[in-house]
């Protein structure tokens, strides 16, 4: 026997941590626990519902455009609309959103035009010069690399004593990247007004969560950075809105960063360039349809006589009209003049590149 002192289990415990889980609405729309105060505002719940339906309807159209060669690669939100909508709806206009590429719903909530989103995915940078809040970030495609920006934005708020919050959205794959942890760690040190939200949709393209991490939850990753991580039913928009409201409120009050894990499921392919059937059994996907967020809120609202078939039909028509108008505007937008690729490279184009700009103007 070695003389290494007492057995490990006899050593004193110096720290314990817990992760809480938030859910209000069950998949059938029934209520599991007392609803947050805002839920008494039926108008707000209907607005959340409408936003989720709009993005789902929009996604269908976007995929149709892509399949017919009129849009580039596109990432649908199918199944995870509640996470983006719930979080965005808890933000103030003056807060700053730092979205991932699957957060169409959050951008739309914040006022970005459907035509602008199409313009971006249709291959035109002008889509990022959008009509949402002017300081919001564009979609971030290199996974998790926007997390340090969120920390920098929040540092500026804190330095200037502005009561604003940076809200950063990313997926489960991003939690494997140093970027995300480095940002969270820094935010913890400086108690920055930033909320990190991981939309845990279980799949990073073809890699399932169990190959992404051995962590029991993603929420617990915040604990190592010194702040609270909460796991939320990401298919319950009421829970998402409530968790985001709490976290954003705390951050605004100077209580430091928070982390929210929205547990949901990517019902669609990763993007239009992906075929999830290659790596994901159809019955797994089928089984997760019962949890999806839109039917859940609809059942709840219907149970309160706040929604019915006629309203649903009217909403679909409204969405389709809005989408058709956006599509027309998008398709009518011609490409920029080629030389404009130089125009926002620097504040003022350096003399050294003026000749190249002239070259491209001349064409071939």
């Amino acid at each position: 026997m070695t003389d290494s002192g007492p057995a490990t289990e006899q050593l004193p415990v110096i720290a314990r941590f817990e992760v809480r889980y938030r859910n209000y609405l069950a998949p059938d729309g029934s209520v599991n626990r007392q609803l947050p105060a805002f839920a008494s505002d039926t108008g707000l719940l209907v607005a959340l519902y409408r936003a989720m339906v709009l993005v789902r309807t929009f996604d269908l159209k976007a995929v149709a455009l892509q399949r017919t060669g009129r849009l580039g690669t596109y990432a649908v939100s199918l199944g995870q609309e509640a996470a983006s909508v719930g979080v965005a709806s808890a933000m103030r206009e003056e807060d700053v959103l730092l979205p991932s590429y699957r957060d169409n719903a959050a951008l739309i909530w914040r006022g970005v035009g459907l035509d602008e989103i199409l313009l971006f995915w249709g291959g035109d940078e002008r889509g990022n010069h959008f009509s949402g809040p002017i300081q919001d970030f564009p979609f971030c495609i290199p996974v998790g690399s926007q997390a340090p920006h969120a920390a920098g934005v929040a540092y500026a708020f804190k330095l200037r004593k502005e009561p604003r919050v940076a809200v950063c959205l990313f997926g489960d794959g991003a939690t494997s990247k140093g970027d995300v942890f480095e940002a969270m760690n820094f935010a913890g040190v400086h108690k920055l007004p930033v909320v990190f939200v991981v939309t845990n949709n279980q799949w990073a393209i073809s890699v399932p969560l169990r190959l992404q991490t051995a962590s029991e939850t993603l929420a617990q990753k915040a604990i190592a950075a010194g702040f609270t991580g909460e796991q939320v039913d990401g298919n319950d928009v009421v829970a998402m809105r409530a968790a985001a409201e709490d976290a954003i409120d705390a951050a605004r009050k100077g209580q430091g960063p928070r982390f929210i894990e929205a547990v949901t499921y990517r019902l669609g392919d990763h993007t239009t360039a992906d075929d999830a059937a290659r790596y994901r059994p159809a019955d797994e996907v089928q089984a997760r349809w019962k949890d999806e967020p839109i039917a859940r809120l609809r059942s709840y609202l219907a149970g309160r006589n706040a929604w019915d078939k006629a309203k649903e039909e009217q909403l679909i028509t409204e969405c389709q009209t809005k989408i058709e108008t956006a599509v027309e505007r998008y398709l009518a937008t011609g490409p920029r003049a080629p030389e404009t690729m130089f125009d926002h490279l620097y504040a003022i184009l350096p003399k050294a590149y003026a000749a190249q700009r002239e070259d491209i103007k001349g064409g071939d």
Binding site: P142, Y346, A352
Partner: protein, 326 residues
């Protein structure tokens, strides 16, 4: 006026910028109470407080990424990377974000940040400290890459970099951090970016260099002068975008061009200069363009690094050979 070293001039410029503009923020590893590993930020935290001069966690990607976020909010962050060998985790942030945020958003967001990075070898530093990765950075559209070779230019160019509305990587030649000394007036006047400096006029050959190698290049010009060869010496100073007119004007006059840099030869920035001169100045060339560079090896540890860094002798030989070419 007192004589100051190059690193002291950097410190003066930082203090001046922070004094003049409350949006200037300095961040990096050990930049606070310790004043930076090279003492470039000494005294700044005491003077401007820990909120504006902050010690970051030990994470270079974070430093560059936080600078991007701060810059979009109208701050003027000046990040410090301790040695060039540690800049590589920042490449994603520099390439994918800092340099293209303005373009991605068509001018809605911009990124007026500076990343200060000690550059080059020759100070007997440990492994992974002595890199000269300027060519890699100069390849990135939307970025500026600046490197001073004297205390005056360190002061004036750093002020310009901090005031510039776009991201600048500001390289600082460690080998001459303390050996280069001159009078620098702390008058808050910036020097122009994108402009090369003619340090010595000459008729027979143009020697182009930047950073610490300017010292050996000037030494070579002296030696060539003793042989009756009149060398013009240009400090490129801004590598991206570089001053085409000054280079072309000089080579047109001398007909000979030697580029000197410490980094490895293949794909080094000398290749860009050589290509440019060949494209635009071929008819005035009287001799092949020559490159005097580090070898295509990893920069050796201190026991051999003096054999890697181009010597005065190698530059003189190249200049002489160009002038003897028939």
């Amino acid at each position: 006026m007192p004589q100051v070293t190059l690193v002291e001039a950097v410190n003066m410029a930082l203090a001046r910028a922070m004094e003049d503009d409350p949006s200037v923020v300095v961040l990096g590893e050990d930049v606070g109470i310790n004043g930076g590993v090279f003492r470039a930020t000494v005294g700044l935290q005491q003077r401007f407080g820990a909120q504006r001069v902050l010690d970051t966690p030990l994470a270079e990607l974070l430093i560059s990424g936080v600078c991007v976020g701060m810059a979009t909010q109208g701050l003027r962050p000046v990040g410090e990377i301790q040695f060039m060998g540690f800049i590589y985790p920042c490449i994603d942030q520099l390439v994918n974000h800092a340099s293209r945020l303005r373009n991605r958003t068509q001018g809605r967001l911009s990124c007026p940040m500076v990343l200060r990075v000690p550059h080059g070898g020759g100070i007997r530093a440990p492994e992974h400290h002595s890199e000269s990765a300027e060519a890699m950075l100069a390849h990135i559209p939307g970025l500026r890459v600046v490197i001073p070779s004297s205390p005056e230019r360190a002061y004036g160019l750093l002020l310009a970099a901090i005031r510039d509305p776009d991201p600048v990587v500001f390289l600082e030649p460690t080998r001459i951090y303390r050996t280069a000394k001159s009078e620098v007036e702390d008058n808050g006047e910036a020097l122009p970016l994108d402009v090369a400096f003619v340090l010595r006029e000459g008729r027979d050959v143009t020697l182009i260099s930047w950073g610490a190698m300017v010292k050996e290049t000037l030494g070579a010009a002296e030696a060539l002068d003793a042989e009756g060869i009149s060398a013009e010496v240009i400090d490129l100073a801004t590598l991206k975008p570089y001053d085409e007119e000054t280079l072309l004007g000089s080579v047109t006059k001398t007909g000979r061009c030697v580029v000197v840099h410490e980094a490895a030869r293949t794909g080094g920035f000398g290749a860009e200069i050589a290509a440019f001169v060949a494209e635009r100045g071929l008819t005035s060339l009287l001799a092949p363009i020559a490159r005097v560079t580090g070898y295509d090896t990893v920069i050796p540890l201190p026991r051999l690094e003096q054999h890697y860094i181009p010597s005065v002798g190698r530059i003189v030989a190249a200049g002489r050979k160009a002038c003897q070419f028939t």
